[in-house]
Amino acid sequence: MAKVTIKIEGIPFEVEAGLTILEAAKACGFEIPSLCAFNHGECSKGSCRVCLVEATGARGLVAACVYPVAEGMEITISSPKATAARRTSVELLLSNHNKNCQQCEKNGKCELLHVAKLTGARDDMYLGEQTPTTLDKLTPSIVRDTSKCILCGRCVERCKNAHGLGILGFEQRGFNTIVAPAEDRSFASSPCILCGQCVSVCPTGALMEVSEIDKVDEAMKAGKYVVVQTAPAVRAALGEEFGMPIGTLVTGKMVAALKRLGFKKVFDTNFAADLTIMEEATELLNRIQNGGKLPMITSCSPGWVNYAEYNYGDLLPHLSSCKSPHEMFGAILKSYYCGKNGIDPKDMFVVSIMPCTAKKSEKERPELSVNGLPDVDAVLTTRELGKLIKRSGINFVKLPDAEFDNDIVGDYTGAGVIFGTTGGVMEAALRTAAYKLSGKELTKVELEEVRGFDGIKEAAYDLGGKTVKVAVAHGMKNAKVLLDQIRAGKSEYQFIEIMGCPGGCIAGGGQPYVQPCFLPNEDANILDTYKAKRASALYQEDESRALRVSHKNPQIIELYNAYLGEPNSHKAHELLHTTYTAREKYKN
């Protein structure tokens, strides 16, 4: 790589040619106050004008995030001219911003407030007209409040990069410009899959999850029998809300915190992940043996299910009819568990802690209920759980570890844990399918071929003399490739795992924000590595479990013996399976 010699603040450095000033400065140990470059250039580049610096050879000040370094260039960050210009840029952004910071849910994680502090932006420097705003609270998942939007475009880019979707875009012109779905529609009447990837990159409070903390409070206050379950990915990220390094496994502390918060029982969704595997592996074998629709596609990710219903209505018969694990758990809790413990299911209130915003909408689906009772009553994101713990006077970092409840349900195997990362459901299902097809356990349960973060992973396994070809995709852009193959009748696979978010649930739209500006102790390339770090926490827990295949979970075996009969039985179908409906994209 060619090098150029530049000076930053009068100090000479040799840097790679082709870098932007912002990248070069970072490599040389400088932090130019900026918004967009914090997020891998996922923004409409150069538009926010926060990172202005002086550079010789340029006319006027330049935006460091887009201006390339050149041989002999002298860059000045700290001159009065540059500092005043950056301050003015932020003051202009603030002049069209709803500054109710104290009430804002993003307070503490707001990157705009952060650069306002860094640049010394003053209050109300530019008063005047404000752009007309839209507040969209119609979906149970995501709130869009354009009064907080600074038009950085990160959400627009993320929606495109992750899913090839482009639900959000810039519309209108000049002062009236807003970021919105076409026609400034609600997410509810556009083909948004509610995955929350846009939420996870928004620097301000313009895109946020719909908070359900109040709902949980009310249920507690009303004296309901409030139980909680936690998805696998939550334990791999919750610690970050309390300043712990990314990739710290906090299972024990999380359980301890939930017990202190007053939940009657604290269960692990992994139990239901094992149950899902029993149902899904059986369904797969039935389809293979009885000429059913193949390839079968997993159905755990509600973002993916939304995408399928909007875009591939013709392929819905390929989706496994299995409910997602937390919904299965809710159904079992309100039937089997309530029955065994003499609890009226009407009094039970099931809270799911999920890394996901789409789960909030999923739980509202009428088909995910039994006898008129929803399987799950409230869904909190990992971030909301962080807030709940913080307001309750719990010192999370110092909590002693506690164990999940597992009186008759709640025990789990390593197979359930890895559901939280891309390839995990596939791996867990194959561990059990191999046994069911051949009658023998796999000699090595780690299936490396389906691990890792390649957009599409494929593998072929010999299961009891039968070759099963599988594929794994995460993010809808990748999923589309596999789906178009099926549509064209050219798919070679029998089983496909699809997860809505790139990386799977560990990088879900409800997970703690990864904002390098607030993570001074993490590596500089943390945006490239955080998914792998969180995933390795899950693989670590998988390895630590004595049982690592779902069909050996003793409580699952007992559940079938005592209650469900066998996998895919009539009773199992009633409680654990669901249906899908093709949906119109832009519905009026």
Binding site: V156, L165, G166, I167, G169, F170, E171, Q172, A182
Partner: protein, 162 residues
């Protein structure tokens, strides 16, 4: 997309296919559709999206950015009053106001009978004949407020006799 007639779907797909070899075909496609139908509603944008792979939000963004494109049907006669600097100082605002008063619509609107659309334009580059007005491409130079009712009447009469 349920409301579009089969012939329209075919026509719009054909327009899209004219530019398959272009790297950035969107403006040309939208321009052709605007000329063909006079407006580009969301259903049509969805169709263009499906054909080209450009997201609906991006297409909507382009349609709402350029004033040349319209989301609602334009009238049979599109009156464009230039409000560029030269026309403005020569009294173009009064001309727009007069058209508004005579037809009973605001700039940007279309009359209920579908006959007229009134557009307030940026400089159309005809400063030498300010204030300038165009109606379906026909230029009315150095227009006076008093001449406005007569022009509107002429078009109405033309329509009545057609």
């Amino acid at each position: 997309m349920a409301h579009l007639q089969a012939a329209a779907v075919e026509k719009i797909n054909a327009i899209c296919d004219r530019y398959v070899n272009e790297t950035t075909p969107l403006m040309m496609i939208l321009s052709d559709i605007q000329k063909e139908y006079g407006y580009i509603p969301l259903e049509v944008q969805e169709l263009v999206s499906a054909r080209t792979g450009v997201s609906v939000a991006d297409i909507y963004g382009v349609v709402t950015f350029y004033s040349f494109f319209s989301l609602t049907p334009k009238g049979k006669y599109v009156i464009g009053v230039c409000l560029g600097t030269a026309c403005y100082v020569k009294g173009a605002q009064q001309i727009v106001d007069k058209f508004s008063e005579v037809i009973g619509i605001k700039p940007g609107e279309t009359s209920a009978d579908g006959l007229f659309t009134l557009d307030a334009l940026r400089c159309i580059g005809a400063c030498g004949i300010a204030p300038a007005v165009t109606i379906n491409g026909k230029v009315y130079p150095k227009l006076t407020v008093d001449a406005v009712p007569k022009i509107v009447e002429e078009y109405k009469a033309m329509e009545a006799n057609a």
